[in-house]
Symmetry: C2
Subunit: 226 residues, 2 copies
DNA sequence: GTCTATATAATGATAGAC
DNA sequence: GTCTATCATTATATAGAC
């Protein structure tokens, strides 16, 4: 059971106990979920459980500090990804290494629900928005009848599919999950590219009917059953 | 805090306590997750907590019985949906009423991970497979280079998007969540139909490149970073 | 700063009265 | 069949020694 070294790659002994606890918590939260106990976190940080409360006061406060740190690391990964832009949405996050921790932590936050998960989803959407707009402008991506709705749905779909994949992998560590993503990438990337490029439906009727339905002035929504 | 009546619409007093407990558990598991306590379930069923253990032995056994019952109800909904087939995958599940409980329970099972969630996903995939094959045969749906991979990814994507929507709705009951789905259907169905009909990418290069990449005999996977 | 020992609350499971 | 009372476990949080 090794001591966590954090994303910076620095020696554990160089960090204050407070930072070691925070990094261990991020690691444990990613591997075991936010129900990971103080005992487990303390063991990984190499300290006693009581010291966690001493430094952070409560589990909610520790969680908040971990959220902030992961958001900071996510921005660093994003900044790095902007330097050499990759064609695929969120691809930077699924690379192994430091970003594995970040991706899995964000998946855990969404999984746990609440304000934290919502915030991460907002950040993902905000970051994708200008990229999507530029892609539409350059002609790489088709325009939408409702850009904002499509953007949100794409983020939900993409993160949702990752979350389901994550949940169906029996208790993997962050590194193991990202490794399994790469091992099975063909089964994911091929259908994804197919669907994104060619679509699924060969006929236009369903879409055209729905667009026509939305044009109807009366009735704000389709008649609800029962 | 009303007494649960179950999906059959029968009076609570007509059921044995055992069945009332099971129905209350399904309801509580959907509303609060599988961490819902015996006390909560017992209150909803109108019995004492001890009676739950007396009848089911353990929480795992109660859970297993709830899984079976929900699977049975899901098959009933599916059977009903086959009678008047709807164009859209899983649309039958998102209708209000009895299917609300079933949908949310399945989402909870996926959310909790483990064998139960995996089984439900398998059932969903198995049910969609012949429909998809028939749709390809009739020309409604485009053929895929890997039908099985596309089918699986579509199920993951669809259920994943629903799960994320569910998790981002602050602690809704099953009924409330399905109601919110219908209220916000335009923001979901329009982009979904757009993406399914027209796709997202306007150019073919990414897909063609990836298909070409898969043709390479050597290297089972792309060179991994690091 | 760090640890040990403990308080407090909640859970699932058990035992036995009625 | 049903309930009340209790146990054992685990969790976070606290208090105080060093």
């Amino acid at each position: 059971m090794r001591i966590a070294t954090g994303a910076g790659g620095r020696e554990a002994s160089d960090l204050t106990a407070r930072a070691r606890i925070r990094d261990a918590a991020i690691s444990c939260f990613g591997d075991d979920g936010f129900d990971s106990s103080f005992r487990t976190i303390a063991m990984r940080a190499g300290v006693s459980p009581g010291l966690i409360t001493h430094h952070f006061g409560s589990k909610a406060a520790l969680r908040a500090e971990c959220d902030s740190e992961v958001l900071r690391q996510y921005r660093a990964v994003k900044f790095d990804a902007i330097a050499r832009p990759s064609a695929h949405l969120l691809e930077g996050l699924t690379a192994p290494g430091a970003s594995a921790t970040v991706l899995v932590y964000i998946l855990r936050a969404i999984h746990a629900g609440g304000a934290s998960g919502r915030d991460f989803l907002e950040h993902l959407t905000d970051d994708a928005r200008p990229i999507m707009a530029a892609s539409v402008a350059s002609g790489l991506v088709r325009p939408s009848r409702d850009e904002e709705a499509r953007l949100r749905y794409l983020v939900y779909q993409t993160m949702g599919a990752l979350l389901v994949q994550f949940l169906m992998t029996p208790s993997p560590t962050a590194e193991e999950f990202v490794a399994s993503l790469h091992a099975g990438q063909r089964d994911t990337i091929l259908p994804m590219l197919e669907l994104l490029t060619e679509g699924l439906l060969a006929r236009r009727e369903m879409l055209d009917d729905y667009v026509e339905f939305l044009r109807e002035p009366e009735r704000p929504a389709r008649p609800a059953p029962e």
